[in-house]
């Protein structure tokens, strides 16, 4: 198993579509008509970049043993419906201790002008 700390994945563009936002808002019980729910970042930030990590043969992550242990989102602003944002994922640390592997994965989301929108920090634990 490789230590992939420092590895950065190619940026992924994502269009924030009204239907998807509405379905997401309904699933979490958000009030309609209040814009893009903050945790829609689970889709436009983490959701588009985490699969790059999980599918990376070098990272060799056993998806069946993966747990999402911690999550943080920080917003400069919330995106709007119709906007296309771009997210870049990076492994900030990859540590194994007593059989547990802990990966910190950070995703920076920017708007079409390159301005910061959101930063996501996820910690994944891979059980032995």
């Amino acid at each position: 198993m490789a230590d992939v700390a420092g590895k950065t994945y190619p940026a992924v563009a994502f269009e924030i579509e009204a239907d998807r936002v509405a379905a997401f808002a309904e699933a979490i019980g958000a009030a309609p008509g209040e814009g893009v729910p903050p945790t829609f970042a689970a889709v436009y930030a983490l959701g588009v970049t985490a699969p790059q990590l999980f599918g990376d043969a070098e990272a060799a992550i056993d998806f069946g043993r993966l747990l999402h242990a911690e999550q943080e989102f920080e917003w400069t602003r919330h995106p709007r419906v119709g906007e296309t944002v771009s997210s870049t994922g990076r492994v900030t640390s990859d540590v194994s201790r007593r059989g547990l592997r802990m990966i910190n994965f950070e995703t920076q989301t920017r708007d079409a002008d390159g301005a910061d929108v959101c930063r996501s920090r996820a910690m994944f634990v891979i059980r032995p």
């Binding site: 689970a42 999402h68 943080e72 920080e74």
Partner: protein, 118 residues
Amino acid sequence: MNNAASVVTFSREQIAAYAVASGDRNPIHLDDDFARSVGLPGVIAHGLLQMGIAACVAAEAAGGPQRLTRLTCRFAGMVEVGDTVTFSAEGGAPGRLDLRATNQRGEPVLTKASAEYR
């Protein structure tokens, strides 16, 4: 600001709706047989679904979702179909909310959870 709370009983339908809407269709959230095959009691809710509900409660206390600037939590416990979780947001320091999510047995399912807003 105000405090807010919400009590949610997790259904298979809500977890499946979140799987579709979020794009996270890991079978541990959709397929009981698969979930049991990897040592789970049955399908479990996404941690990010719990966080999404906690964010709604935080948004209510903060005066609107667009005011949230930061949200953080640890996924401390599994939420199964039929579990009832009480989510709450309580004002602490200015611009900060302490978030809690506790199941029907009194066990925390989210810990180290907080929000910031402006």
